[in-house]
């Protein structure tokens, strides 16, 4: 891979390997992505710091408001994605080994799955808990604080804290979203997406508390259901993506709405090689990087030499930094499940796979 000889000055980050290079397992990253990973790590640490301040501030003022409790739990849950990201990025730094022959990229998927289950469970709990509070007409008692000789309604502090907690995560979310797309990192993407939408729950909570101040006790429970529902929705959406990736679905774009264009690019590239008649690929998303099996049907009479297979493999790897773990498999006809495949045989069906 051409990027392999890229030199990178030694940075300050402690998780880098000895020569300051950041890598995704076997995949060495081009310089702009090295920089993106470092920025993502920095942003996730900043996120954790901002969240710690928000969680402490909300805990100080939350009192008996159900909406504040929901918002507080949401903020606590928001710690999981950045922590999952930071752990995963450390783990996948290790190159593939005999024990982990595919590398450690699945760490991202595991982190993603764990985070989404936590969101799903807590979201469901909050919706049910808040709904029960509404049905049984629990009136939230919100008293006062005594500060500097003044007695001030606690709800004002809640509203101020919730409004102050809005801008930080939204700004961080927008910054991380860009990096997530660049790095093809779904945990970072999910985290950024949640941060970016955080203002809605912050505002809903503030409105809920302000409504209680007007004597509309049920505003609190309704706001709490909104917050719970938004956590639940995040959980369902992330769980779907996490399962999609862990079950080796054909690689998709980071938004998850379409097949990744690099698959078609690689197939076109392989088919346009002079000794190849037809090519089709099986591509799965391992976290940041793809694992690709390129099935090729050689032209009749074309010699299958090691050189040809090797140079096809190398040129495929140069298409995209995400492509590094590639096997080129010569077959008499394309398996049914790969793009352009018509044969009734399956690629899993005991063929001899030849790694170039």
């Amino acid at each position: 891979m051409s990027q392999k000889d890229t030199q990178q000055h030694s940075g300050k980050d402690s998780v880098e390997d000895s020569n300051g290079q950041r890598r995704f397992g076997r995949t060495e990253l081009p310089p702009e992505l090295q920089e993106a990973v470092k920025r993502a790590i920095r942003l996730e640490w900043i996120t954790i710091g901002v969240l710690a301040v928000i969680v402490a501030a909300v805990a100080l003022v939350m009192g008996n408001s159900q909406a504040m409790k929901a918002a507080w739990i949401e903020d606590l849950l928001s710690f999981i994605p950045p922590i999952a990201f930071l752990i995963a990025i450390r783990i996948i730094n290790n190159p593939p080994s005999r024990k982990q022959p595919y590398g450690n990229h699945r760490a991202i998927g595991v982190g993603h799955l764990v985070a989404s289950v936590a969101l799903l469970v807590m979201g469901a709990f909050l919706v049910v808990d808040s709904a029960i509070g509404l049905i049984t007409a629990e009136h939230p008692p919100i008293g006062s604080f005594h500060l500097f000789g003044h007695t001030i309604w606690q709800g004002w502090f809640m509203v101020v804290v919730m409004l102050l907690s809005v801008p930080g995560p939204v700004i961080l979310g927008r910054m991380k979203l860009k990096l997530a797309k660049q790095l093809h990192n779904k945990v970072l993407y999910a985290d950024a997406d949640m941060n970016k939408a955080d203002w809605q729950t912050g505002l809903a909570t503030a409105v809920g508390v302000a409504g209680v101040g007007l004597g509309l006790w049920w505003f609190d429970g309704v706001a709490a259901i909104f917050v719970g529902a938004s956590i639940l929705y995040d959980g369902i959406r992330n769980l779907t993506t996490a399962i999609t990736d862990l079950t080796d679905t054909r690689a998709r774009t980071i938004e998850g709405n379409e097949e990744h264009p690099v698959i078609y690019q690689a197939e076109d590239h392989a088919s346009s090689t002079d000794w190849v008649r037809q090519a089709g690929a099986r591509v799965r998303d391992q976290g940041h990087v793809f694992h690709m099996e390129m099935f090729v049907v050689p032209e009749p009479g074309a010699a299958l030499t090691l050189d040809r297979l090797q140079s096809l493999r190398d040129s495929l790897a140069e298409l995209d930094w995400k492509l590094e773990d590639i096997v080129v498999v010569p077959v008499p006809e394309l398996p049914a499940e790969v793009h352009g495949g018509t044969a009734t045989m399956q690629s899993e069906g005991g063929q001899e796979f030849q790694e170039a």
Binding site: E138, S144, T151, G155, A204, V207, G213, G215, A229
Partner: protein, 181 residues
């Protein structure tokens, strides 16, 4: 107080939980609009959903007490004790007549939960398990409990009657300033 009150005691039409992110901004707007449109002119902010404070001001303050000297001594014809004096001071401030109910903890707390009482006193502490039945005030003083550990003295008002809660806390802050931790 001749101020008209509104008491929305039941959710007229609680909006269904948002199923999608996109529904949230709209819902937020709806909530804000509901806030703006509520022509609710309660006498204060925070307001009481059941108007406890408004009804007591210039009227009758229904107080439940539990015999618990030296805070409440209910052995005489009229209750006396430090908390009784505090409650009397609060009633004077809001121009209310007190109607005392003397009974056991469970009886007064159940009456408070039902809305039959406006205030309960009786040497309750912030550790009281009765917080399911009433809203405990911020503690107004600290003392030593039966086990020798410090306890924080509180009173109770109906759950969610936040004007009542805040006004009582405001009074206790001033009346018991010396005892503030």
């Amino acid at each position: 107080m001749g101020v008209p009150r509104c008491r929305p005691s039941a959710p007229a039409a609680p909006a269904p939980p948002a199923r999608r992110r996109a529904a949230l901004p709209a819902a937020g707007l709806a909530l804000t609009a509901a806030l703006a449109l509520t022509g609710c002119t309660s006498s204060g902010y925070p307001a009481d959903p059941e108007g406890t404070f408004d009804k007591a001001s210039g009227g009758t303050l229904e107080v439940g007490v539990v015999h618990h000297p030296p805070y409440v001594d209910a052995s005489g014809a009229e209750p006396s004790g430090s908390e009784v004096e505090l409650v009397e001071g609060f009633a004077r401030q809001i121009d209310a007549e007190i109607e005392w109910t003397v009974s056991g903890e469970e009886a007064v707390m159940t009456a408070l939960q039902k809305g039959d009482l406006d205030l309960v006193a009786g040497g309750f502490t912030s550790q009281s398990p009765w917080s399911t039945h009433g809203a405990m005030t911020r503690h107004y003083a600290e003392t030593t409990g039966p086990d020798g550990k410090p306890v924080k003295l509180v009173m109770a008002v109906p759950l969610g009657e936040n004007q009542m809660l805040t006004e009582l806390e405001r009074y206790l802050d001033v009346a018991h300033q010396g005892a503030q931790p």
